[in-house]
Amino acid sequence: MPGSDIAIIGYAQSPSVRDADQSEVQLLVPTVSAAIEMAGIDRREIGFTCAGSCDYLTGGPFAFVSNLEAAGAWPPISESHVEADGAWAMYEAWMRLLEGDIDIALAFGSGKSSPSNPAEVWAQQLDPYYLAPLGVDPASLAAIQARALLDAGKASERDFAEVVSRSRRNAKGNPNAQLRGDVDAESLLAEPYFRAPLRKHDLPPISDAAVAVVMARGDRARQLCSRPAWIRGMDHRIEPHQPGMRDITSSASTTLAARKAGFDGGPLDVVELCSTFSPQEVILREALGLDAGTDINPSGGPLAANPIMAVGLIRIVEAASRIVEGTARTALAHATSGPLLQQNLVCLLEGE
């Protein structure tokens, strides 16, 4: 029996698309309902609900309030919201379950990046004195990180291209992915630079999507699901906000979060990493001590679909689904937030 007595028993995600017709809450309504239906419960059995989203994406103040309607908020329910990826909403819901007085919790994440210009929006998450006024966009920051990796001799541009090639190839088996297909590293390397040393394909797509998970405790989880994905541990750690104050070629917070989540370097059947830019996979692989043979992001990962505020929780769902479906026994999922892997969350999952 794994460390925590809480398991994922239901999940759903909407396909990631470049520009969804529906509102964010319209993406959530069928997604949350499908996760609840898969769990085989009535929504009134849910003891706690937590949502993750960011109003800056759609530009609607208090957009997160209407998102809650997807959970059925009348009569009133016990709920919370994090201005963060759904993975952090799941973390809060998991913590709530650990209290031991409720049996079922719901978490979801959603984001429509399409109405905004992400380069404008995400410059605003930087410190307001030195970086935000410069309007540094995520791609430029990622290029600095990539350059640092190359200069440190930790990776080559070919390594980045190989990550993209595998992501797109793996995404062929994922109906929810946005970018998929066979592209070899050679032809990717022939593309022009977008932000040197990064090429356009080293960046994630702009995506709209929603994702939801239902968790249950102990015997209730076993009753409801024949192969629950037990959450062995979950932890998140934070590094300095200012990228100039840390070594951006490594991720100490990922290493620590993984250890605190209970990862001891043992074998993993599935690894889903929130490597939003291709060089970050190199960093995360090293931070987790994964050997070269470990298959990363069988779903295609964020380079194949990047619905910000859902993309991290999607990593957990992709990992959990393989345990529930019986094709994997151990899995590690990672989510990130902030500039250049500033905050990292690790969720360790195990089948029985």
Binding site: D21, R43, S66, P115
Partner: protein
């Protein structure tokens, strides 16, 4: 886009006596958003410009949402054009505020004005932020019967309508006018105040 200015240090400033203005930094931000109306709102606007008011009737509870959100938030059921119903342009004032404008930035009004919620006959959701005309402000009341004042077709636009839920139909229906009918009873609106 950012436009930042840091006050230049004054020449000859004494160490340990930093002038206050050196601590002020302007950081002006504007973010641009472009979006299409959701299919349900797009349909609502098309009909509205034609002089019709449509909503969705929840297939589960039967409540009528005007305009539709594309789902029933109480039943958590998605709705579609198949659930479309038309409502009339007469209704009942369910609540109101008379606002005396103060000259804050962006406030163009100078005289007191009305923000009323109007429950159209056949709808379960009131239209908020409506102007009420044809009656002195001091006679405004819950239960007052009103009818839409439509702008001439050539002056109508979708300007005020957005996916974000604020803004209203003012670019098509300029106000609601008191009809002079007897007031509606509280039973009609007590579950639909806001």
């Amino acid at each position: 886009m950012s436009d930042s200015k840091v006050a230049a240090p004054e020449s000859g400033a004494q160490e340990g006596a930093t002038p206050k203005e050196n601590l002020v930094m302007e950081h002006l931000v504007s973010l641009t958003y472009r979006e299409r109306l959701t299919p349900n709102l797009n349909r609502f606007v098309d009909k509205l410009l034609d002089g019709q008011i449509v909503g969705h009737k929840c297939p589960s509870c039967g409540r009528v949402y005007v305009p539709s959100k594309g789902y029933c938030p109480l039943c958590v059921v998605a709705t579609s054009e198949a659930d479309e119903v038309e409502v009339v342009d007469t209704g009942t004032v369910t609540g109101f505020t008379i606002i005396t404008p103060v000259a804050y930035y962006g406030q163009k009004a100078t005289d007191p004005f009305v923000y009323a919620s109007v429950l159209l006959d056949g709808a379960d959701t009131p239209l908020n932020g409506q102007d009420i005309v044809g009656i002195p402000h001091e006679q405004l009341r819950m239960g007052l019967r009103v009818k839409a004042v439509w702008k001439p077709k050539e002056e109508r636009s979708a300007e005020g309508i957005s996916n974000r839920g604020w803004g209203g139909i003012g670019s098509v229906v300029s106000a609601f006018e008191a009809t002079g009918e007897p007031d509606a009873s509280e039973e009609v609106y007590k579950e639909h105040i806001f």
